[in-house]
Amino acid sequence: MKSKTTDMVFEGLLRIADDNLILGHRTSEWCGHAPTLEEDLALPNIALDLIGHAQALYCLACEIDTRYENEDQLAFLRLEHEYKNLLLVEQENGDFGNTVLRLFYFSTFMKYFWGEVKLKCCFKKLKEFSEKAFLETSYHSKYASQWVITLGDGTDESNLKMSNAIANLEPFLGELFNNDDFTEMCSQNDFLPKPTSIFDSWKNEVEAILQKGHLDFPDITLKKRGGRKGEHSETFGYLLSDLQYMQRAYPNSSW
């Protein structure tokens, strides 16, 4: 592979892997705190899936860029500005409604994203991976959508909390669909789909689910962004100190 292509593939894998790792970490914070025992099983299971996706993608990244020996170095030993995840996934969980709404937004996006990669991707190993990832993110999207409907269509209070969650996450959706020079290059090289190309399918599905929950579709023209360039929210530093603690305190420790 030419070095320019290598850089592109590495950066592209990193973006998706970081999104999954950070949302996986946030989701895992629910372990032991979920409102019912069933949800306490569901959320850590989803966190495990997300972290599993991140691990597999970091492994692919290490294969093509030998600066990093293994996936742990990428997950645990980078500095804050080296993480390329969306601001959306690093925000604090908030209440259960806010957590499932974000999961619904993200997993629905990823479902269509992997659906596109499955059809067209110049990197064979990622194309193969997407077949499996598509199935798993579809399941997450379905799980989360059921809660969005249940809570939106529940009591006045649960509906109010979901409306608050929509307002709370609204500013971060623009970044999810933001095209930049990099996404442009990825799409021209048939590596990754342009985020904007997924928007219509995403919107149709999200709108239909929100409608069932008597909730309004968010304004996605607001664009709080920076995550893709390594500029993160204040809360991200606290998240990393938790995520990286073991590897920083006991370098190279393993199970």
Binding site: A42, I46, L48, D49, I51, H53, E131, K132, E136, Y139
Partner: protein
Amino acid sequence: MDKSTEEAWDALKDLTDPELPFLTLDDLGVIREIKRNDETHVVTISPTYIGCPAISVIEEKIVSELKKLGIAAIIEKSFSPPWSSDWISENGRKKMEEFGISPPHPKDAESFSRSPAKAVKCPQCTSYKTEKVSEFGSTACKSLYRCLDCKEPFDHFKCV
């Protein structure tokens, strides 16, 4: 198939799954291929789930089992085609039921759906009057059900 590859298949036949110890990897259809590559054997496995925590244990088990035969093995993970619950053997399904887990339905090739419309049978009393409690059970590969007749909760292996 050369002799050592045959021996390798034979040796791995009885290895069990760490999370479902009454099932062998063979029952689950996790081991897809064993290929001799000069001095090493490449064992291709299809993880049931990408993030399945049992995978690293499975890899270690395979490598150490083959080492006993003097066979050096490396593991390759394959996601294409993705592992399917249709790959679980008849025998595996029977064992699942015996251990109180309702086995997955055969996947409907025409309409892909993870929550089967088909009724799920209670593995305790065989009633079909059951309901889903949660999309997720004790592991990623199972969802949680309860029987409306005998009232027992049980795991249902997801159809994927």
